[in-house]
Amino acid sequence: MADNTFKVSIITPERTFYEGEATMVEFNTVEGQIGVLPKHIPLTTVIAPGICTIHEAESEKRAAVHAGLAEVLPDKVTILAEIAEWPDEIDLSRARSAEERARERLASKAENIDLLRAEIALKKALIRQDILAK
């Protein structure tokens, strides 16, 4: 049994978000989605906003992870997330209004807005709604 699980820890600046044994972890990186199984080659990668799915022996857990980096070792995965939240911590109405605001900002095309920031805000809002919809 011990052979096909590995340690997963998700750490945010404010708390240790998750710690446990998993059979597989999926998350989004800047290069695309990846799924990590035990005995993965060592890898350090930068996380893009997305849903992180942790497959445990009998259940699976989902969390929204918005930014950070991940360090993958054969027997351990450490995700340093700047923001991470469980589905029940997300406020749907807030995510909706954030989506609207971001869309407005992107549509207005004013010169003094931070396009990149608005795009990231939009992505975050969409992910928050996504994870709740599932």
């Binding site: 060592p42 350090t44 980096l69």
Partner: protein
Amino acid sequence: MASMRDIKRRKQSVSSTQQITKAMKLVSTVKLQKARSKAEQTTPYFNAMYNTICSMLAKAGAVNNKYLKDNGSEKIGVIVITSNRGLAGGYNSNIVKMITGSDMKPEDVKLYVIGHKGGESLTHKGYEIVKDYSPVMEAPTYADAMEICKDVLGAYASGEIGQIYLVYTHFKNTVSQIPKLMKLLPAEVAEEDVAAAKSSGAEALMNFEPNEEEALDLIVPKYVTSLVYGALVEAVASENGARMQAMDSATNNAEEIISDLSLKYNRARQGSITQELTEIIAGAEALS
């Protein structure tokens, strides 16, 4: 000798001050406990971040990254963390002394201040303040640290400032807080840590996605942000620790003054009784 009434009035005023300092001490003790547990929770994140940076530098070596090289600007950006309120002993002045005592010239320094107290005294000394984030100090969050770092890193990337320093008070324990001056960029990590990462074989196999240089570009800002956040949280703990100590010694001093005044008051009372008696006896003798 002061009259009995004067001594009594003085004693009352000191004891009401003592009540205030006592209450302030209790308040900061509670706040300290909260801030301390928060500071402890950030340590795992910071340690993991530092290890990652070390192993990246061990792998990448002296790569040509904008965050690792001097960009030629003379100006120095300094992030100063002090408190918004006083009555914390030497807490704020120690931070100010760190800056005035360093070999940075006031005209070269651009300050990003967090906390009114440090900002005020440094303006008096002729330092230029670019931006003030004082309200952050009430309850620092990671989002606040991101905001600050965005401004500072922006100035660094555009060449406005060539170096970034961070000045804050390190929280060693409840009774000891140490002001610290720390260089953030160009990034520097201890040589031995890099060497240690190099020698542990596993790191040599580490892959980076995207490649090292791009990954460094993305990770260094996160590293800086985590440092700033850690400093903010520690500074809050230190502030309350310093205030607790200051208020504790103020309460003790008030106690001392009160006992001194009580003694004086009793002496004055006894003196006046003796005097009255002498007068009565003298009067009786004169009559007889």
